[in-house]
């Protein structure tokens, strides 16, 4: 069966520090991969999606970037965090129209 992992589960970072969140999927090959952010009381905001290694599409221009160095690995990065980057970050995969989400990373920028 397929599983999706995200780490870390929680993170507290100062403004201006770098960020790296990692997501890996097991049990499937060539999945579509997604990064979302969920702010308190708001819906899921699609940040990036990828249909293959090295193929990244950005939905919202901001100080975040994403990379897919391997088929089942998706990384979300920032060089300098802003206060507004705080939120719940979710990675998801799909092979059809259904999406399957990871456990999420709670990021607090102080």
């Amino acid at each position: 069966s397929q599983t999706i992992h995200q780490w870390p589960a929680t993170l507290v970072q100062p403004v201006g520090s770098p960020l790296s969140l990692e997501c890996t999927v097991e049990g499937t090959s060539n999945p579509n991969l997604y990064w979302y952010r969920q702010a308190a009381g708001r819906g899921l905001q699609l940040l990036f999606y990828s249909v293959g290694i090295g193929q990244i599409s950005s939905e919202v221009p901001q100080n975040l970037s994403a990379s897919r160095p391997q088929d089942r690995q998706f990384i979300l990065s920032s060089k300098k965090l802003l206060l507004s980057d705080s939120g719940f970050y979710l990675c998801a995969w799909s092979a059809g129209y259904e999406q399957y989400f990871g456990p999420g990373t709670r990021l607090t920028v102080t």
Binding site: N32, G43, F101
Partner: protein
């Protein structure tokens, strides 16, 4: 802009009753609508998908409808239980990668 709207107010119902949640979409015609369940501090879990040419879809105690005239989907949980308490998210799918999520409706089933 394309938008999915859900009632942001929490819905409280008595155990055993049917819960009905509403999802409205504006400014586009999605090919698919989906419903997810999200518990606090967890990622959403996929529940049901319905296509625009399907009027109704069922899975155990869950039922989803898709009304393209009203631009609306209804999500029903029959014989609700306290374990059904969660936030339910509606999402549309257009094309292969374009997912738009609503803000979700929090359901609380009272014992």
């Amino acid at each position: 802009s394309q938008k999915i709207e859900q009632n942001s107010e929490a819905l409280n119902i008595q155990e055993g009753k049917t819960a009905t949640l509403t999802c409205n979409y504006t400014n586009y015609s999605p090919a698919y609508l989906q419903w997810y369940r999200q518990d606090p501090g967890r990622g959403p879990v996929f529940l049901l998908l319905i296509r625009e040419n399907e009027k109704e879809k069922r899975k155990e105690r869950l039922k989803v409808t898709f009304d393209t005239t009203l631009k609306q989907s209804l999500f029903h949980i029959t014989a609700s239980q306290p374990a059904d308490s969660a936030t339910y998210l509606c999402a549309s799918v257009s094309g292969t990668y374009k997912y738009i999520f609503g803000t979700g409706t929090r359901l609380k089933v009272l014992a």
